[in-house]
């Protein structure tokens, strides 16, 4: 039972990694389309690049922890 819970927790954590990114990028693209824009605003770029920066930092931190 405990092993199953660990597996499910692992599954949720991995799925959450994708959900986090989709939750940031997709709405921005949808909003731009809905408003008929072909370019993104500076704020939207800041969100998208900030998300990528956060992933870079998290990955580097986790790798450093495991050193």
């Amino acid at each position: 039972m405990a092993a199953t819970l660990v597996l499910v927790a692992d599954a949720l954590a991995v799925a959450n990694a994708a959900a986090q990114t989709l939750a940031t990028t997709l709405p921005i693209i949808q909003k731009a389309q809905a408003e008929g824009r072909t370019t993104l605003t500076a704020d939207e770029w800041a969100q998208i690049k900030g998300d990528a920066d956060a992933a870079d930092t998290q990955f580097a931190n986790d790798l450093a922890k495991g050193a």
Binding site: A17, T38, D51, L63
Partner: protein, 215 residues
């Protein structure tokens, strides 16, 4: 059919759940006029849960004990009494167990942004395509990170994935800067290079997962 469900029931159940989740994702990404990120995330979770059940099914199969060569000594045939002995001869498994759950799941998760990218590139402007490429980059890096944290991706391979990611990011940033400054030719070239490097990163992470290495 009864034996099939008896021996593989958990795996079949998991597969059904995962397929339902995958169909939901496909519906949202390809069919829905206005895809909802929350629904996509929910369907991804269903795929992940289905994969966990499949994994559990493989664990059950792997736990089956092969009693060939074992002996049972009883004082009275057909019954067990104090003093009777059971000798079970353990056999070495002929193949390794199923890959870690993270391996199966991350395979789905890494594939998801690729689908998103394909959908996004169908009718989007250049900047929207670039945003989708950033999203793919972020998701693949998070998936690689999660694989490393969960133990599915060894450190050497995680470092290699990080090194590949570091090659992708400058092209994305250069394409974004060029696009913002009106250099459409340079931006297109940088995005093309970023997309090529991003594909290499995705393929590398996929290929290093135990589920893929075991094939």
């Amino acid at each position: 059919v009864t034996d099939l469900f008896k021996n593989h029931g958990t795996k079949i159940l998991g597969a059904l759940v995962a397929v339902i989740g995958a169909l939901g994702d496909v519906q949202q990404l390809f069919v829905a006029v206005d895809p909802n990120p929350r629904h996509i995330a929910l369907y991804s979770l269903i795929v992940a849960l289905g994969s966990a059940v499949i994994r559990r099914g493989f664990s059950n199969t792997a736990a089956t004990v092969d009693t060939t060569g074992s002996t049972l000594t009883t004082s009275e045939p057909g019954t067990l009494a104090p003093g009777d002995t059971i000798k079970v001869t353990e056999k070495t498994a002929s193949k390794s167990g199923p890959p870690p759950i993270g391996a199966w799941l991350i395979f789905f998760i890494v594939a998801l942004p690729l689908v998103l990218g394909l959908v996004a590139c169908q009718s989007l402007s250049f900047q929207e395509q670039l945003a989708a490429a950033y999203g793919t980059y972020t998701t693949v890096e998070r998936a690689a990170d999660q694989a490393y944290v969960s133990g599915s991706l060894p450190k050497a391979q995680a470092l290699q994935a990080q090194a590949l990611a570091k090659q992708v990011r400058p092209f994305l940033d250069a394409a974004q800067a060029a696009s913002t400054s009106g250099d459409s030719t340079g931006a297109s070239q940088d995005l093309e290079l970023a997309t090529t490097a991003l594909g290499a990163l995705q393929r590398y992470v996929d290929s290093q997962l135990p589920a893929q290495k075991g094939k």
